[in-house]
């Protein structure tokens, strides 16, 4: 039997085994670099393609969803920022009105020099009224008393009591508003200037492009009043 493996038939067997080894080697290498789909059957390729299409459609859908929600978020962010800005503007306006923050801007400075007792609370109150009439936005007296909605004036032995604070002459009013209009409101016939001068005092007006009011009003704690609910 052994000798059958030699001779002509032995070579035929060797050839077949060689072909097999050759095929295995080639196929081995092929399988290692089988990243391409050349060895895949048509039906499998179609299946692969279909699943890729499905995945693609799903991911596209997901992209659209995410993009939409991103746009939504961006919109709401913008409107939030707008609302915030509006709220800040409103808060600033209200803070100036309530006198809880310092203020600056063009305006006039009125210095009232008068003998003791000549300038009473009613004179100061009238002056404040005239200033408001002329469009004053911020008024402070002697740099300490900010005139706001709840400010009150009362005659006192030493001078004038403004919202509980005693002010002594000379009085200096810092008023923020249109300087020319404010100055006219002081000097018109029968106005503040006339009134003080008739009592032996003097009024000086200085128009300034920049007045800084640092006095702030005490923010009142309301004991009785509550905001009426709007809804």
């Amino acid at each position: 039997m052994r000798e059958r493996l030699h001779g002509r038939s032995g070579w035929v067997i060797a050839l077949l085994v060689g072909v097999l080894a050759f095929a295995i080697t080639v196929q081995w290498r092929q399988a290692e670099e089988a990243d391409d789909f050349s060895g895949v059957r048509g039906a499998e390729l179609a299946e692969l393609l279909r699943s890729l299409d499905a995945t693609n459609a799903r991911l596209t859908q997901q992209i659209d969803d995410l993009r939409a929600s991103r746009d939504d978020l961006r919109d709401s962010n913008e409107s939030t920022a707008e609302a915030r800005e509006a709220a800040i503007r409103r808060a600033n306006a209200l803070a100036i009105l309530a006198g809880t923050v310092g203020a600056e801007g063009p305006g006039i400075e009125i210095s009232i020099t008068a003998p003791p007792g000549a300038v009473t609370a009613s004179v100061l109150l009238d002056a404040v009224q005239e200033m408001r009439d002329a469009g004053a936005e911020v008024i402070a007296i002697n740099g300490v008393a900010r005139v706001v909605a709840s400010t009150w004036f009362l005659d006192d032995d030493a001078g004038v009591r403004v919202s509980g604070r005693v002010l002594k002459p000379p009085y200096v009013m810092e008023v923020i508003g249109d300087p020319d209009t404010l100055a006219d409101a002081v000097t018109f016939r029968g106005g503040l200037a006339d009134r003080v001068e008739s009592r032996g005092g003097t009024v000086e007006i200085e128009k300034r492009r920049q007045i800084q009011v640092t006095a702030v009003a005490d923010a009142p704690e309301h004991q009785y009043a509550r905001p009426a609910s709007e809804d």
């Binding site: 039997m1 493996l5 097999l20 080894a21 050759f22 095929a23 295995i24 290498r29 092929q30």
Partner: protein, 110 residues
């Protein structure tokens, strides 16, 4: 000894030439390899059992490869190519295992 020379020569040729399988043959080569392996293992069993016949080996080798290729081709034409090649591989695998078990019994008597 000569078949070993053929084995070495085949591996060396495959490594040196590094050919690529033509795409038309690609579904058939793995099946053909399994079929040829079945023939070789069967031949080894016959050799050990002392009833090796080179004529039988050559014919079984060639016919195994040819039948396997034809079956895969037929399966592809009928649209059941992947199932049929799986079936062919399973059957050939069983035969290889059976022959290997016989060889093991002859050598180790276990």
């Amino acid at each position: 000894m000569i078949p070993v020379i053929g084995l070495v020569a085949g591996i060396a040729l495959g490594l040196l030439l590094q050919p690529t399988v033509p795409s038309g043959l690609q579904p058939y080569v793995p099946i053909a390899i399994i079929a040829a392996l079945d023939a070789v293992v069967g031949a080894a069993r016959a050799l050990i059992e002392g009833r090796f016949d080179d004529r039988v080996f050559v014919i079984s080798f060639v016919s195994n490869v040819a039948i396997a290729a034809v079956m895969v081709f037929l399966g592809d034409q009928l649209g059941v190519g992947s199932q049929l090649s799986t079936g062919v591989i399973v059957v050939l695998g069983i035969r290889i295992f059976a022959n290997a078990a016989a060889i093991r019994r002859s050598i180790f008597h276990a």
